[in-house]
Symmetry: C2
Subunit: 161 residues, 2 copies
């Protein structure tokens, strides 16, 4: 289990670690972490709130990058392939992964109020996957669980009003 993003924490640690791991993972895999790709990853890690492709694109455009959709989608595809980010389909958004080294089924809780996403360790989910394989005789290739609701902070704010 990773840290809890709903609690105060030194977020620059999140960012630094993410970028470091991205660099070493790329080196290890012989992949090129180019300027756009790195910048997209940085932007995604600016907060724990998943970002949309066009939200990213707008910022890239301001910063002088080629302001066309393929720019950001290519970078995102690259990052997704390496496991450096996850895609949250229910939000059409992307969020950084905090343990890209090992492939894993993604599981996220997203606060419907503040939008922050917390990735969860997926031991149970791996088990689910195996169970489904036995039950149906299928082979599972991908798996994504998306939970949403209200985080403690937003509950508190709601009470105060």
């Amino acid at each position: 289990m990773s840290q809890n993003v709903y609690e105060p924490h030194n977020h620059s640690h999140c960012v630094d670690h993410a970028i470091d791991r991205a660099r070493s993972l790329c080196e290890q895999r012989g992949a090129r972490l180019t300027k756009v790709r790195l910048r997209v990853l940085e932007l995604i890690w600016q907060s724990h709130k998943p970002m949309g492709a066009y939200e990213l694109l707008a910022i890239l455009a301001q910063e002088g990058f080629n302001p066309a959709p393929p720019t950001v989608y290519r970078a995102l595809d690259f990052l997704l392939d390496l496991g450096l980010v996850h895609r949250l389909h229910s939000l059409n958004a992307f969020v950084g992964c905090n343990h890209p080294e090992d492939q894993h089924p993604a599981c996220f809780f997203v606060c419907e109020q503040c939008g922050k996403a917390q990735e969860l360790a997926a031991d149970k989910l791996q088990a689910l996957s195996r169970q489904v394989e036995e039950l149906l005789g299928v082979t599972v290739n991908h798996q994504l669980t998306e939970l949403s609701g209200i985080c403690p902070g937003c509950k508190q704010k709601a009470l105060e009003q």
Copy 2:
């Protein structure tokens, strides 16, 4: 656990049951299962392959319904609210639910080859939900798990070629 859609079965039973339950659920809730709504539900149940909104719309248009996007999205919203269909975000598609009576976290396996979707009983998932609530102090409102891979039939076909 529901039946296995990857095995041969009398599919008209699936359809009939689904429509019957839809009618009684609507009556019970004082909701109106209008012509468009019923037709959309029927179309969705034509197979176990999730259908896209515009795929549905094209058929509706052929059948003389108002051929504008809101037509189908409104019907889908209605069906989603009642729990008669589930939305598979990773496919941008919709599939019938086989036990709409009780609200439940959705869990589907979708074959990447033939596209058929099997809904799975979610005992473990309900447990996951509670676990996440305790762990993070959050309240879970929605939950969706989407698995994908290859079903037995498609494995077999692959071998034969």
